[in-house]
Amino acid sequence: MASVEEKLGTLNFKNDHQSHIAIPDPKICLTQCKDKPCTKVCPAKVYDWVESQKKIVIGYENCIECGAARMICPFNNIKWEPPRGGFGVSYKYG
């Protein structure tokens, strides 16, 4: 079984130094969000709950820009916008 990391390895990214994704209120993740759907629904595993830091760490460099992040957080706590012009993923086949 190929892992999601291996799948992402097939892609080309041109990463911006600044993230196009933010979690405005990390406290909500910690205190109110039991299921943390962002860690499961995102097809590029961009959102990872790091227990030692007690917060979601955003791997925006792996974002394949599907846009699901805009609607998967039940608390509306993900701010996602398309990367700046020319940055982000570039598909070869699509």
Partner: protein, 453 residues
């Protein structure tokens, strides 16, 4: 690029935006396309089946000549598979009628296609700027009159056509939509699998450049509303699966595991044996359809394609709707330019054009389909197994008489909780009345038709 003024700004160089650009270029309108990808297609994912008719109306005979579209295979066979955990029921249609030109549809590699389509538009006079992300609209006295980019540049125009796809920032910025709800969109993941041309043709029984398509329902979506697909390209296969975002949310199933499990399905495994994954991709598909469409025009503003939920998922049509909508939006702009009036009243003829095309009737007729399926979860969970078991018994020879086997199958099917629930939910007063009304109406229609003859 600061403070330039155009007749029209098109945001997005997908099928909707490029189609609009071609129509405007041919009419001599000063328009520009802004695309956030490094090149057209860089951000775009499709299954991808391209329907001939709608593109032919924009680029006549695009499949031939000196600069033909990069098409993979012309489709002569379409199959539907209902999968249980270890079996499949196939329904399919293959026809020699689809061998002749113009072909009904083709498989495409979306990035190759988008690059060609954008170049074609440029050769016809369109201007396309890539690597430009639009962040918001510029409004003046309530009228939309331009866009602002992520780099802070402002571009002005009489009209902005939003062809920015399912994640439309523009329709939001215009105040036409809020965020889509997770019920209104599907999330699809896909892999492009490399395989030698000869092997593809042998494995799928294809003559030369013929192609085949599979849509797959049942076990592979784990009870979520959605389906898988497998399409043949020249030297690759496109394999993917998409389900409603709300169902991913509810079940906690990860999209990549869903895809990976699908690849391990005993019926699919031999079809993709020996392939190498050359690309993984993911994209949203707007599936709210007619019920989710935003207002399609405002002062100085039009919306076309995925940005306006113009997808007919039950027929896997989207790119063709986007092309026709882009074309109709551009034709509306040409009329507006001639009148010198870009008000919402002048632009409202876009909606009329959509109604007269196949787009609105198709979206309207399929508007409640998904909801109806969702209200009967048995269809997704139990039914594939029940039907598959019935087929197994029907074809299996085990020494019982056919009579015995058939009555055993019927008994088991009708005693199943899921089937009983389904029948119960269908046998409501409203449905029975509906059937009765339909029958009476049909009888009258038949009578009047007979009289007419």
């Amino acid at each position: 690029m600061a403070e330039e003024k155009f007749d029209a700004i098109i945001v997005g160089a997908g099928p909707a935006g490029v189609s609009a650009a071609i129509v405007l270029a041919k009419a001599g309108i000063n328009a520009v396309v802004l695309e956030r990808g490094e090149y057209p297609g860089a951000k775009n994912v499709q299954g991808g089946i391209l329907y001939t008719k709608m593109l032919d109306e924009i680029i006549p005979e695009f499949w031939k000549g000196t600069d033909p579209a990069p098409l993979e295979r012309y489709i002569t066979e379409q199959k539907i598979m209902l999968l249980s955990k270890d079996s499949a029921i196939h329904i399919g249609y293959k026809s020699d009628k689809w061998k002749g030109e113009p072909h009904n549809c083709y498989s495409i590699v979306r990035v190759h296609f988008d690059r060609w389509y954008a170049k074609k538009a440029e050769s016809l006079g369109a201007q396309i700027y890539t690597g430009v992300t639009v962040r918001s609209l510029i409004k003046q006295n309530g009228k939309i009159c331009g866009v602002k980019t992520s780099e802070g540049d402002e571009l002005l125009a009489d009209v902005v056509i939003a062809c920015d796809g399912v994640n439309s920032i523009l329709a939001q910025s215009a105040g036409l939509i809020d965020e889509w709800r997770p019920e209104e969109v599907a999330l699809a993941v896909k892999e492009t699998l490399e395989l030698e041309k000869e092997k593809i043709e042998e494995r799928f029984c294809l003559d030369g450049n013929e192609g085949t398509t599979f849509e797959m329902f049942g076990k592979i979506t784990e009870g979520m509303l959605g389906y898988g697909f497998l399409y043949t390209n020249k030297e690759t296969l496109s394999l993917g699966v998409g389900c409603k975002v709300s169902h991913f949310q509810k079940t906690g199933i990860t999209p990549y595991d869903l895809l990976e499990n699908m690849k391990q399905h005993p019926i699919l495994k031999p079809l993709i044996r020996g392939t190498k994954t050359v690309e993984y991709s993911g994209h949203l598909i707007p599936e709210g359809g007619y019920n989710s469409m935003p207002p399609l025009y405002a002062d100085g503003f039009l919306v076309a394609g995925d940005a306006a939920q113009m997808v007919n998922p039950s027929h896997r049509e989207g790119s063709n709707l986007a092309m026709t909508a882009g074309k109709l939006a551009a034709e509306t702009v040409v009329e507006a330019k001639n009148k010198g009036d870009f008000s919402s009243r002048a632009l409202s003829s876009y909606q009329k054009k959509l109604r007269q095309s196949f787009i609105m009737p198709d979206l309207f007729d399929h508007k409640d389909l998904e909801e109806e399926i969702e209200s009967r979860p048995e269809l997704l969970t139990d039914l594939p197994e029940i039907v598959s078991q019935a087929a197994y018994e029907y074809f299996n020879v085990d020494g019982r008489s056919k009579r015995e086997v058939q009555s055993a199958i019927l008994k088991r099917v009708f005693r199943h909780r899921a089937v009983r629930n389904l029948i119960k939910s269908e046998l409501t007063f409203k449905n029975v009345m509906g059937l009765f009304k339909g029958a009476v109406k049909g009888a009258f229609k038949f009578k009047s038709l007979a009289k007419g003859n």
